[in-house]
């Protein structure tokens, strides 16, 4: 079975759920699926599909890079850590000093999206810095 066939339920679901800029290509026995999901739910659904094909993601033959489309007008993000406070750092990287913290569930201001991983934020106390984007959920 080719990789394209193996992951066909996933690529079909991506195409059907409104993923834009969808690209599927194979190189050196790895399938690369890139795209932008209209929202976080669609991204999670696609990952659930991936989990149906490869429950613990051990195949080593797929790189699934589904980003989530974010409205450029979004200015507020919610801290969606598991339970802990979120570190706010001086620069984009865990090697950067911590300049502040945002509480779990707190809604803070999104200043800019520096890159896919690190977003520049500001707390209600005026602490400004970079936080790991995976723990931030845009507020509608």
């Amino acid at each position: 079975m080719t990789l394209t066939e193996k992951y066909k339920p996933l690529t079909d679901a991506a195409a059907a759920s409104g993923v834009s800029d969808l690209q599927v290509r194979e190189q050196d026995n790895v399938l690369y699926i890139d795209g932008v999901a209209p929202n976080g739910e669609v991204k999670d659904q696609l990952w659930a599909k991936y989990g149906e094909i490869d429950p613990n993601f051990t195949g080593g033959d797929l790189v699934l890079d589904i980003k989530t489309s974010i409205d450029a007008n979004v200015t507020k993000v919610k801290v969606t850590t598991e339970s802990s406070n979120l570190n706010i750092r001086k620069g984009p990287g865990t090697d950067q000093p911590i300049v502040g913290k945002a509480a779990h569930g707190e809604v803070i201001t999104l200043v800019s999206r520096a890159n896919e991983q690190w977003w520049q934020v500001r707390t209600a106390d005026g602490e400004e810095g970079y936080a790991y984007a995976q723990y931030l959920t845009p507020e509608a």
Partner: protein, 159 residues
């Protein structure tokens, strides 16, 4: 009487020559189809022939194939001219693979909150060892898949 016969003969000859014009396009198309069948690069090209004009549509892999196809069809007997409407699909960009240094830094950031997980990076491949809870696995894998790795060698033990 004699005139009628001549007239009839002319009529028959005229009809035959008129009819013989008609299947010509079909014959030419058949000849072009033979050319298309020979070369697998032409398998997605389609030809129609009208009054000796061969119109090509469908897809060919590149501009060179497109030109070669047109030249081959021009040489087919009965083809007066070729309208080449075949299209070359836009090239698919190869996947972006991050360099090891930025990837190592990004992997360090992404795995920081997973104390049981050890990660190394070599030649774009992220190798994972250690243990992780099932509930946290998807979140970690989502983060790592977004860092443009070449691949992910996941040897994590899932608790």
């Amino acid at each position: 009487m004699k005139m009628t016969k001549v007239f009839l003969a002319l009529l028959v000859a005229g009809t035959v020559s008129f009819v013989s014009c008609k299947p010509k396009d079909a014959d030419v198309k058949a000849s072009v189809d033979k050319v298309l069948v020979i070369n697998p690069d032409y398998s997605n090209a389609v030809v129609t022939v009208t009054d000796g004009v061969a119109t090509l549509t469908g897809e060919v892999k590149d501009d060179a194939t497109k030109a070669a196809l047109e030249a081959s069809v021009k040489n087919v007997k009965g083809v007066k001219s070729v309208v080449n409407n075949t299209v070359v699909p836009a090239p698919v960009a190869p996947p972006v693979i991050a360099a090891d240094d930025p990837l190592t830094a990004a992997v360090k950031d992404a795995t920081k909150d997973y104390p049981g997980v050890m990660a190394t990076v070599k030649d774009g491949v992220i190798s994972l060892t250690g243990t992780i809870e099932k509930s946290k696995l998807v979140k970690l894998m989502q983060a790592l898949n977004g860092l443009n790795p070449k691949s992910i060698d996941n040897k994590l033990t899932v608790k």
